[in-house]
Symmetry: C2
Subunit: 120 residues, 2 copies
DNA sequence: GTCTTGTATGAGTATCTGCTCACATATTGC
DNA sequence: GCAATATGTGAGCAGATACTCATACAAGAC
């Protein structure tokens, strides 16, 4: 068991492991991107929106009625999901129809759901 | 295109879609559980911890050195991950070794990473 | 043009969250 | 017993966040 000292003065018990993990670590950009993606799924309202859109496109006020939260709140969340390129919209008159932009969204929810259900 | 009115007075443009989505919606408990899982992945520090543990178990101070954040901060995050049953530990003297408790953790990170890399 | 409908958006706010700091606990060696 | 090491934990705080409210914008009906 080799005990070492980092250049910054941190205590390290297993220098080998730390060096190894540092090599395999994801880049700062990837970590940032990943956590952004997961954060998007981490809010109940956004999760319900994304799950609702997996079957068919919906407009803001329908989503609002479905989730029983204000249209403004829905619109704010949709904007966030739009900038994250998870949803896109199409206009028909004054109505905007939102849809999922990425198949991975559904896959990620399904996988997490599997994880959750196997826990029990 | 049927326009309806919810019992709570919400505007609904496509009653059909809302009723349909309501049938397919996840339960409140499932939504809550899912968002908790995603929230756990939604923080850069926790994400880096989980990714570091995918290869081999590590102790608190090594993780602290790897991430360059305080041991206290690491310990707090590990507690959260422990209560979420994502990691477990094993004691060897005064040292606690943490490991992933669930294969899904790795799978979820990989899938999200795939999503992220295909975006470009 | 005006009015209505559907949505977007900025500001404000209460809550949540991830850290630091100080201290507590657990185990080993003496 | 006591000291040292490794980790855990509660309080407190700065920043993030998810909502509300008021208002602005876009498209259609007239």
């Amino acid at each position: 068991m080799e005990t070492g000292q980092d250049s910054c003065g941190c205590r390290i018990i297993h220098l080998e492991k730390v060096v190894d993990a540092r090599l395999k670590a994801l880049s700062a950009a990837e970590i940032e991107g990943l956590s952004q993606v997961f954060k998007a799924f981490g809010d109940p309202s956004r999760l319900r929106i994304l799950h609702a859109l997996r079957e068919e496109e919906m407009c803001v006020c329908d989503i609002s009625a479905l989730l029983e939260i204000s249209e403004s709140a829905v619109s704010h969340q949709l904007r966030l999901l739009r900038t994250m390129r998870m949803v896109a919209n199409r206009r028909e008159g004054t109505v905007l129809y939102y849809r999922l932009l990425d198949q991975h969204v559904t896959e990620l929810i399904d996988l997490a759901l599997l994880h959750l259900r196997e826990e029990k």
